[in-house]
Assembly symmetry: C2
Homo-oligomer: 441 residues x 2
């Protein structure tokens, strides 16, 4: 494709598909607040008339009901994309992201939170997928090849300047410039550390928990995670089972999925403390910055982690300012896309807090690995105390599924963001008319 | 209607209408972040087979684009309502509200924020409208006739217990029981204090500002409000004009609609300080609890107000815990309906902070007056330093429009919540096919 063709090409369509997987039938993915999720995707395809066969694919993840409303929210963004020059969008992804976020009418539905913000994230991520494919790079390398100045231009600093300025960001990124290539080589060779949630779902028997925990350790994982918060006696028994199974050297994180008020979070965790939990994830409301800070103060040295439901960079900023978290858990599909996640990575780096992404769901592992690998190469330069969540669900539906082996994510090499699904999966699991659902609903 | 009939009656439909007013054509409602709003309603009608002719009406307010996505979010709640017993819903509005909020799949789109939470608010408010109509009472009196125990049962205390327990709430409500009847009588006689935003929109000339400010004072208002945040020199001039027009005894609030970062908010307001602004509203991100606290510390004695974009009770809780606000601005259509607003009124009462509701938009004045009047009768027992915002827009579309006279809201007497619109308005402004829009889009 010549320069001229590229400049002339337009985005011609924003397709939105409602795709759902009936995961609730097997209790995979069950936790204290999500007893019966049907993992779903409000799936986005950006099409162009460039004639190069490239499309931008991404998705917003939901847990079933409401996936149609999420799709409707995405569709409202079409006027910001369709008809725009492909080059204009792909060459200024920061400006593109800001144009969506700052729509003066749509922002009433947020601002920058809930369905409309997840919609922005899906469309922005689809643009990154397209831009990286055009560049022939997986997103993590596409990012890692940008200059510090280009990276700073991706970030919307609105509401951040009391904690992170463009100058701060530039300094962080420049500090990490030496050694970028060496770190790229190391990722290509040995990947990025992972932990697994597979053993720990609430719906599993103790036997299944122990068996899966044993397998996880045998597979090379050095950290596993258990869902907690439904029943204290059960949790004590499950935590003891897990600890006895894996021994003292494997980290066991626990995850309450927002189940508790502040006081009960502290009490419950004290009962689990004898089994050495590494972190408590989502002890309470994701909006409760001061609550997380109180839980952290009371439970130290147990770490506090949160992020998969944190609406935007302003809440992450405060979690860091208030010293409310030990671990920042970014999510690829909750906030306003790659751009806002760059802001959050920079905030975490500024405050010296490690980022351990949330993943699982549908395509979240595929997408978020790019952000952690970029963080390692170009932001923090380290993987110390950093792990990406891994859940062995639904990867078979992706064109370029994650490869996790020996407890590590192997660096993706296929151009794009990794969220592209097989056409058959999109068709079979289309809701409510695809063949998988037509007998069910 | 006999008890038996009532018990047997079912909710038969949840209708959702997309209704928009082309307000952007006149710059009414323009501010620093909302330059061209088309005030809109995702309008809800609950219908039943009770045969009594009663329906539950309410709405989610938006500013135009996205009203369809808001409507789609409301429609996802239909399975929680349609087919349920009318008596069951209306006799346990607290349980009903919780059943919507805690849908384990829909909550992924929030939790309790953005489009899905505003959807909950609209449906819950429609149920209150229906329940109050069945009781033959305007909602403020319907509430004011409940016992403290019945009121406590309306509240979802999840995530509040570190600041407000059911026992705290009961104590506040019991303390206000003596004198309820006297306060009802006083409201019926002389209404509730209002302030007006009509003079202060950014699109208005200085002459129009001065004329409208003069008229506001002549009409009996003792507080007006100016939009600020687009241009500092303009704001200084407009603020000086307003102060010179109304003299030293009229309160002038200013409203930045989230325009600033923390540092700039402080600097900008220092430039306006010589003209004695009463409060600064939405100086920064509605999610920035710590930012509001920093602004408040720096600007004292100028008061800090926020709330129209505060997603839920957990954020209000923290604004109060962090001493970040002097004024709590509830909104009838942002959070999870009457129930969550009762929680917020109780939190504000616990912390001794006055509530001055946000209103305007479409139907917000009509709905929110009930909450302030209830607050006066049964929660705080005072109107000191409390005013309800009044904007003279679009009231003609309502069956029972607010009556503001002498700078006061007269107590509504028609049963229900007040959000019911004329059938002709619903038809004429239907988007995109109603006659008002068919020529425009």
């Amino acid at each position: 494709m010549s320069r001229t063709e590229s400049a002339a090409a337009l985005v011609t369509a924003l397709d939105v598909l409602d795709v759902r997987f009936p995961t609730s039938e097997h209790l995979d993915g069950s936790d204290a607040m999500n007893p019966e999720p049907d993992y779903s995707a409000a799936y986005v395809v950006l099409r162009t008339d460039a004639g190069d066969g490239l499309e931008g694919h991404a998705l917003a993840f939901t847990t079933g009901r409401g996936n149609d409303a999420q799709a409707a929210a995405i569709a409202t963004l079409a006027p910001h994309v369709v008809g725009r020059s492909v080059a204009e969008v792909c060459d200024d992804l920061g400006g593109f992201a800001r144009s969506l976020v700052h729509d003066p009418q749509l922002r009433w539905l947020g601002p920058e939170k809930g369905a409309i913000h997840m919609a922005t994230g899906a469309v922005v991520n689809a643009a990154w997928d397209l831009a990286a494919k055009r560049a022939g790079r997986p997103v993590w390398r596409f990012l890692a090849e940008m200059t510090p100045e280009q990276l700073v231009a991706q970030v919307d600093f609105r509401w951040l300047s009391d904690a992170l300025t463009p100058e701060d960001a530039l300094e962080i990124l420049r500090r990490a410039e030496p050694g970028r290539e060496e770190r790229v080589a190391r990722l290509l060779e040995s990947g990025y550390p992972a932990y697994t949630t597979t053993p720990g779902w609430l719906g599993y028997s103790d036997e299944k928990l122990a068996r899966l925990a044993r397998e996880a350790v045998a597979d090379g994982f050095t950290q596993i995670k258990l869902k907690v918060g439904a029943d204290l006696a059960d949790d004590v028994r499950r935590m003891r089972t897990a600890r006895e199974t894996v021994g003292p050297d494997i980290r066991i994180a626990v995850d309450a999925n927002q189940r508790w008020d502040v006081g009960p979070a502290i009490e419950w965790m004290r009962a689990l403390a004898p089994y050495d939990p590494y972190w408590i994830e989502e002890p309470t409301s994701p909006d409760d910055i001061l609550g997380h800070a109180a839980v952290r103060r009371a439970l130290r040295p147990i770490k506090v982690a949160t992020g998969e439901h944190i609406a935007n960079r302003v809440v992450f900023k405060q979690l860091l300012q208030a010293e409310a978290v030990d671990i920042v858990q970014i999510d690829s599909a909750r906030v306003g896309g790659v751009n806002e996640n760059i802001a959050i990575l920079l905030l975490a780096a500024k405050f010296g807090v490690p980022v351990c992404p949330h993943a699982g769901g549908v395509g979240l592992c595929e997408m978020v690995q790019h952000l952690s690998m970029f963080d390692y190469v170009a932001v923090t330069g380290t993987v110390e105390d950093r792990v990406i969540e891994y859940v062995d669900h639904l990867h078979e539906h992706f064109v370029d599924p994650v490869r996790v082996t020996g407890g590590r994510y192997l660096a993706p090499s296929v151009p794009g963001l990794g969220a592209q699904m097989h056409p058959d999966s999109l068709k079979d699991y289309a809701f409510p008319d695809g063949p998988v659902w037509s007998g069910r609903v």
